[in-house]
């Protein structure tokens, strides 16, 4: 909470605030001291909040027209597309909104990786973020099942079958998840229920995520602790609000482009064929945002080990604050980490690409190398790098390099200086 006491001006405000301090909360949120050097990569928190609200609002409206029954779900989605007023628009916003949500969350996560936002004292913020990310994947997966097309049905079959890899109880768990001996109506109705529930769980976790953020305050591009409030900070309103709003507008242009010009490019044509339990589509692929993990799953030739590798790839992120042994947060002052960071970005993009390709020949080989590198990055490179890397000198404050007195930040960006340090 704010360092200074807040007293509402009006008598009614005082009376109300003494009983429920909502005005104190509002004052904290507007005055919240924010590092003044935050760049546009810091605007994705606000963008993600927008995405969550968009999904909840459009989802609520879609649920008024959708019918969660194996015999009617597919037709009800077509009914939304053809008959319901603006149904096409609302469904396209919801479907592309999921992709936009993941696009923003990946930028948000990689922002954290670059600037070391997951490090002490922000571990809890990071872990809550990973839980939100897991819930997002669960919600997206179950949402994709609801139209009851071929990809819905077979995606659901493949993903629920992952649990059958568990020794002894696996088959029982899968039957329990399905409510039958295959993906069928009971599976659809429970997925619809959970798909409706999860966004509200995410909303609750987002509040905790922001609460945990407001204890130490934002990290910033040079990754040093900021005294707040001080000349290194600006109030959240209006400075950050207007910057976030501008970034959100830019983001909405991209969003609108997909919705209005290529609404189906991120989907799969097979999902416009109604679910058929007798025919598996020739090439099953998940949505683009799950492809890197799908590539990891397929790169391991053993069923149980493949599932373990895929889950580890996600859960390893939760251990990241302790795997990265470097005390320096920002990659700006970590010349070696910066290079490994970009290799990791490329590695994940490669995994995503081979995840969309058939699992054979050269693609399989590339997937295996990329999977091995992914784990190598987190389990070997990061722990060792913290001890071996010669980091650049870090400025004492955000203001210092700007006002002179030290040229460390400028030096950090100067690669010729880097050579001399070696």
């Amino acid at each position: 909470m704010s360092d200074h006491e807040y007293t509402p001006k009006s008598n009614f405000g005082k009376w109300f605030n003494d009983r429920l301090p909502l005005l104190t909360l509002a004052n904290h949120l507007t005055d919240y001291p924010t590092p003044k050097n935050l760049n546009y990569w810091w605007t994705f928190g606000g963008i993600l909040t927008f995405c969550l609200v968009t999904q909840i609002v459009t989802g609520l409206v879609l649920a008024m027209h959708y019918i969660a029954h194996a015999d009617m779900a597919f037709d009800s989605v077509e009914h939304i597309m053809r008959d319901v007023n603006y149904g096409w628009l609302i469904r396209y916003i919801h479907a592309n909104g999921a992709s936009m949500f993941f696009l923003a969350v990946y930028i948000h996560i990689f922002r954290s990786l670059f600037y070391g936002s997951y490090k002490a004292p922000r571990e809890i913020i990071w872990i809550i973020g990973i839980v939100i990310y897991l819930l997002m994947m669960a919600a997206a997966f179950m949402g994709y099942v609801l139209p009851w097309g071929q990809m819905s049905f077979w995606g659901a079959t493949v993903i629920t079958n992952l649990f059958s890899a568990i020794p002894l109880v696996g088959e029982g768990i899968v039957t329990w998840l399905w409510g039958g001996y295959s993906v069928d109506n009971p599976t659809l109705t429970r997925f619809f229920t959970l798909h409706y529930l999860i966004p509200f769980l995410i909303l609750g976790l987002v509040i905790l995520h922001i609460w945990a953020l407001h204890v130490p305050g934002n990290n910033n591009p040079i990754g040093i602790d900021v005294k707040k409030p001080s000349k290194d900070t600006v109030p959240f309103h209006p400075y950050i609000v207007i910057k976030d709003a501008f970034a959100l507008l830019m983001f909405m242009i991209v969003f609108a482009f997909f919705v209005f010009y290529t609404p189906n490019i991120l989907g799969h044509a097979d999902n416009y064929i109604e679910a058929n339990p007798l025919v598996t589509p020739a090439h099953i692929v998940p949505e683009w945002y799950l492809l890197p993990f799908y590539a990891i799953l397929r790169s391991v030739p053993d069923k149980l080990m493949g599932v373990i590798a895929m889950l580890s790839a996600i859960f390893i992120l939760a251990a990241l604050p302790w795997l990265d042994t470097s005390k320096i947060r920002s990659a700006v002052f970590r010349p070696l980490y910066r290079q490994f960071y970009w290799i990791l970005v490329a590695d994940v993009l490669i995994l995503g690409y081979v995840g969309a390709m058939p699992a054979e020949g050269l693609y399989l080989l590339i997937a295996r190398v990329a999977t091995a590198y992914y784990f190598l990055h987190f389990l070997v490179i990061l722990p060792i790098l913290g001890f071996k890397e010669r980091t650049l000198p870090v400025p004492l404050s955000i203001t210092e390099p700007v006002l002179g007195g030290s040229s460390n930040l400028a030096a950090a960006r100067d690669d010729s200086r880097l050579e001399k340090l070696k």
Partner: protein, 169 residues
């Protein structure tokens, strides 16, 4: 050290906690078990199939408990091929005789044991089935030969009611 005396109150605490735990368990269990297959799903346990129109070398696919079942009438060449495979070459060793009681008829769940896709007929490196999802190859006895699937395709419980009818389940 004096041994702590057990009092009447300690007994009451333990007893209350034990009854409470049983109560919570009894309340939670219906919430969990409601997700298991219900009576109407279990009622569809068996299916009878007329196979008189299936020619040698052809496969029909029927739905049983929401899952496809392959019924293949194998040719003599295919039977010979299935029997010729050495057990040591198999990832999940099973004799063809144990999988097809009547060697002419192979009845098995058409579900890949990897992640549950439906394999394609007469495809793959072993002249049997091929799963397009993650590349598992099965032979003409439905045994896994190559790829990520851990076991052979499952043989359901079935019997010949008469020469032309198979009852699955």
């Amino acid at each position: 050290m004096t041994k702590k005396k057990t009092e009447r109150r300690d007994f009451l605490f333990t007893a209350t906690a034990a009854v409470g735990a049983v109560g919570v368990g009894a309340t939670v269990w219906p919430m969990i078990d409601q997700m298991n297959p219900d009576a109407s799903v279990k009622a569809l346990a068996s299916t009878e199939v007329d196979v008189s129109s299936v020619n040698p070398g052809k496969t029909i696919t029927v739905l049983w408990r929401g899952k496809p079942v392959f019924i293949r009438r194998r040719t003599q060449d295919e039977i010979n091929e299935a029997k010729a495979v050495k057990l040591k070459d198999l990832k999940h060793p099973e004799k063809d005789e144990d999988r097809a009681k009547n060697p002419e008829w192979l009845v098995m769940l058409g579900v890949c044991t990897h992640l549950g896709c439906v394999p394609l007929d007469q495809k793959g490196d072993y002249n049997g089935w091929f799963c397009p999802c993650h590349g598992s190859h099965y032979d003409i006895s439905g045994r896994i030969r190559k790829g990520p699937a851990p076991t052979n395709m499952e043989i359901p419980k079935y019997e010949f009611v008469n020469a032309n009818t198979i009852k699955i389940g």
